[in-house]
Symmetry: D2
């Protein structure tokens, strides 16, 4: 097979030299898949601790034939050869790595380490003091549609979690417009299995997952404080949500089914109109017409978020359905979207592929 030519990827151009830390996981591979199509990026370095020394194609055979750099350990990197870092390391190990980067290097961090702004809340949910508290203060929360200015100016962006992305995009505009009550919000969320990562765990074996459905982390999932933090900012007061994640026997896709109580006199049509107006100019967020409920397969492998609103029979109640691909808008796609903003590129560059179906 000839090395596959990438449009615009002429050698010698002034491309952004990107390093991906933690490239042996699914979000790392997904970054590579999309960045290979990005005309302004050169994938200059890939790291993985246990797999260091291997060609990327040995770890991910689907990525053979692209002339990717071999996997190395982080300490082997020469930072001066890199312009931008995606950090896809495990939660907990990330904070010290990011804190130790040269101060001129821009970073999108896909872990949870810098998402919570309150160190006390971080310690409560993660069981230890944050080890880079100063850095934490200057980090921008990268829900792009709500923090474009912050992201543009930031050196380090905390890429939102998949569940928060899928839940906040529908909820934030409605809270900001006071169309729903901050109390009593129920978020029943469902995710494909890729969100669980590539580590060999019995619970994630094909035989354990397929032909079944289960809830997990009921009452104590770590995406809950992240959701509540952002809802609190929008509502101007504390918000406690009921949040239950579930595992769907599929690779990709995420849905939040959200039950809200509307403010006096507000209808489901009002909610839909508010969302449609808010996202009219957004390239990645769509609102389905009345009567159409989005499904995860409508956004698979794309950076899209689709939102539908249905009136419930219970008085003042509405049901909101929001879908993303957990690996794209829920992780690597939004990370590239943030890089595009941080580097002054067109926001959709490299992440504008249409969904894959079937």
């Amino acid at each position: 097979m000839a090395s596959i030519s990438i449009p615009g990827s002429t050698p010698g151009g002034s491309k952004i030299r990107v390093g991906i830390l933690g490239a042996s996981g699914y979000t790392g591979a997904e970054l590579v898949r999309m960045l290979l199509r990005h005309p302004n990026v050169e994938i200059a370095a890939l790291t993985a601790e246990r797999q260091a020394g291997k060609p990327m194609a040995e770890v991910f055979p689907h990525l053979g034939g692209y002339g990717l750099p071999d996997l190395v350990k982080i300490e082997e990197l020469k930072w001066g050869n890199l312009d931008f870092i995606f950090c896809a390391l495990p939660h907990g190990t990330t904070q010290e790595v990011v804190a130790g980067l040269p101060s001129g290097l821009k970073v999108v961090d896909l872990s949870a380490d810098f998402r919570l702004t309150d160190p006390a809340e971080y310690a409560t949910w993660y069981g230890h003091e944050h080890r880079a508290v100063d850095l934490q203060k200057e980090v921008a929360y990268g829900l792009t549609e709500f923090n474009r200015q912050g992201v543009r100016k930031a050196r380090v962006v905390a890429n939102p979690g998949c569940y928060p992305t899928c839940s906040l995009l529908p909820l934030l505009p409605l809270l900001l417009e006071n169309q729903i009550e901050p109390g009593g919000i129920v978020i029943d969320a469902k995710s494909g299995v890729s969100g669980a990562g590539r580590d060999a765990k019995q619970a994630n074996l094909f035989t354990e997952v397929s032909e079944g459905f289960n809830a997990y982390g009921v009452g104590h999932h770590r995406h809950m404080p992240e959701i509540e933090q952002e809802l609190r900012l929008a509502a101007g007061r504390p918000v406690t949500v009921s949040f239950t994640p579930h595992l769907v026997p599929m690779n990709r896709g995420m849905m939040s089914t959200i039950y809200v109580r509307m403010a006096d006199g507000v209808t489901a049509d009002d909610l839909r109109a508010t969302l449609a107006a808010r996202y009219a100019d957004e390239p990645f967020v769509g609102v389905t017409p009345a009567g159409v409920v989005p499904a995860t397969r409508h956004v698979r492998a794309s950076n899209h978020n689709l939102i539908g609103v249905v009136a419930d029979r219970a008085p003042r109640s509405a049901i909101i359905v929001s879908v993303i691909d957990n690996l794209v808008k829920g992780a690597s796609g939004q990370a590239i979207q943030n890089m595009n903003v941080m580097m002054g590129l067109g926001e959709t560059t490299g992440i504008d592929q249409a969904p894959l179906f079937p």
Copy 2:
């Protein structure tokens, strides 16, 4: 292959001669699968309109080799040769068929036709007047664990829907004990695809369903009034639930994730204790210990219902997870359970197989 001998199925015994109307659908096949193991039953007749004249093994190859009767049309049946009827016909066509049966023949009806007791409510949800209103009045609702006496004396039993079974078993004891509030109950439900039946519909193609997840019937599913009818009886006042069914890419299995508001001073542990006490002597309903949340694969292919209760962080909120196999406890298994009660047999006879995993 030799014809497979069934334990106790000696010819000439005084077995219950059972007829299954509508045997070419999944619930019909599932009745056959379990009744083949039932020592007191002889499968004496199978009907199917379009497939009449065919051997059952042509319609369901997995049921070859059992000497089953060929499929016939209903009008070809000789009622005098039958002792008991399972009616697995489509909703709407059932009521006239059941009304026309000889008055001595006992029936479990798996359709929705006789589940709603209020003719007005039936007309609202099904779009036409009920065509067997008199019969409707004498029908017993067959949620066995809550109506054993009624089922025992009934000639016609309306087998509950799958979603109602999965939702009512956890909710009824809590409402009866006033431990939860009747208002604001959210039932986020998920079902395997077999619930959609065997008719060729594009939406149920493998390619349309697999690797995806979607809600359906949002805000207007017909199992909603059935759930509310039974909750109203338990609560002693009208109940409106928020109910959203979803389709999971799996064949079998159903989960209801239920969000409830507890009465003053009641805890999640109280709810769990109430359920455990209520079902201590029930052969098919189990309550998981604190910290254990049931999954659909724990009950696959069995008549079991498992219920878990988790305290939510939101004050006075609890999350209840209830799982069944939609084709067994949600349909054919419960139908046989009801037959056992109606015919004075051991209630678990023929439906006591352990779950299948993986």
Copy 3:
């Protein structure tokens, strides 16, 4: 949940007290599932090394509520309390365990340790000398339909591998009747993922397996010499097969698509007639009529084997399709079948359930 009563399982009866060594794997759980329904068996002991001390329901939640003994280490067993052993230990560790059992204890071994009768061949394929060569000589190969007398008299039965079972049942009668040539047989085999066991391996994660298909062990799978050993016995001379196993994204099921060259003057109809005659009185092996090709879902969760024969366009060529459930007839079901024969019970006892579909 009340403890579920098992038919005929009255305490104090003279039941066979069974121990299952290696009960924390899928074949162990599958033995339990079926033995729970076996009227002549009491599950008296379950072992698992790493999980010792746990209730079975913690390791396999679907097996809760049956009053099963807790998992213990093998050395904790009191052999005098047991009448029969199923050994479902990993390949390699089995031979010493079985050799160390009291000499009066009958055993069905589900591992590969005693399947090859030639110690040299064992050493070649498994990389070490067999550690129980003497015992190996007295072991009966438990392809029940071909060795009923041997199994009846044996103290130790080597339960065949899943691929050998699925391939030998169609091939042996045809070789014995000289209707096919022993040379040039191609066995293209496909298995569900449960055959890979329950160990946490990255390659068997849901995300790695679903939505994909792959071959494995191409040219060197260890079931090949087992197949060839038995074909050689039938053909009366050495047989080398082309055998390629593949992994199907499903839990259970196995298919062998077999390409054979027919002897002079023999037709595909002759092959089918030979197989039909050979298996006419067998309870578990069926031959489909001309034009009908069996699918794995026709035998799911049952001890059945179905075989179809199709004439190929290439002269003297025929295609044979054979299906089993790899965990039942390919493992635990056939093991119980062998136990029934060894203990003088009805051969179908406890394993006569109909297939599960969908």
Copy 4:
């Protein structure tokens, strides 16, 4: 959602105006998905008979937001507004439509109508005389890697079937180099379900397909004569293959496991070297190193074909494993590849995306 901008798709440019006939099927949707990313193409017309009048987003919700033309009937098209046609109509109806097109319009036909060059063979396999025999003679067979010159000059290209593509790419070089014997080739092929199309058929329901595996068209699949026609051209004499297609419970992906007999003195390493040399400069065909066997998930959603070769234990036998995505290299991707060649564009334009995993 803002209309998503496509790179290079500036209005007013001299883009190729493409019409897709039969856009409501999976290959039609897949053409759209990839052409949306093609910088030299404007999707100018989409047809569908039964769905005419609907927006594409109603038929395929994942394709909403791209400003696609509504579906129309073929007779509503103005041919003068189109530069190029993809014909994705059902087999049989295609030939008259293509024959009736203006003679200046270039066409890639994805149906089987023009693949067989011998009218007698067409009549034998399709049951009727070909209705555009004259046109059939000038059509080029579009296995791009083997007919680039023919495709470049052709007005009408017959896009190969998925099974032929997956089987011919590994076999043709080996036959041309006389490294394998033309007799006794066994092609055991496996396909994802999308190959069966989007028509509502009971056999393709999720519940009928998932958790199972089956062969189909055994001994008489219509891709067999197409494979044999091309092998005959390469071998210089008639070739009869044993070909068995199977259905895998996955959406996309195809594997051919091919058993060949090597010429005297030839080894599996020779086969691999021949293939590697033949495809060294091809952008879409790769040969895996010794010891690596490709899987369908290595090429999912890409236009790649990967080929692995393994020595078999049987003397002079080798096993070849070839994988493609049946909807891309097996259909719509190769169709665009052919369009690129016919229109003088870079051959990989618009179809150079990396595979999607997981």
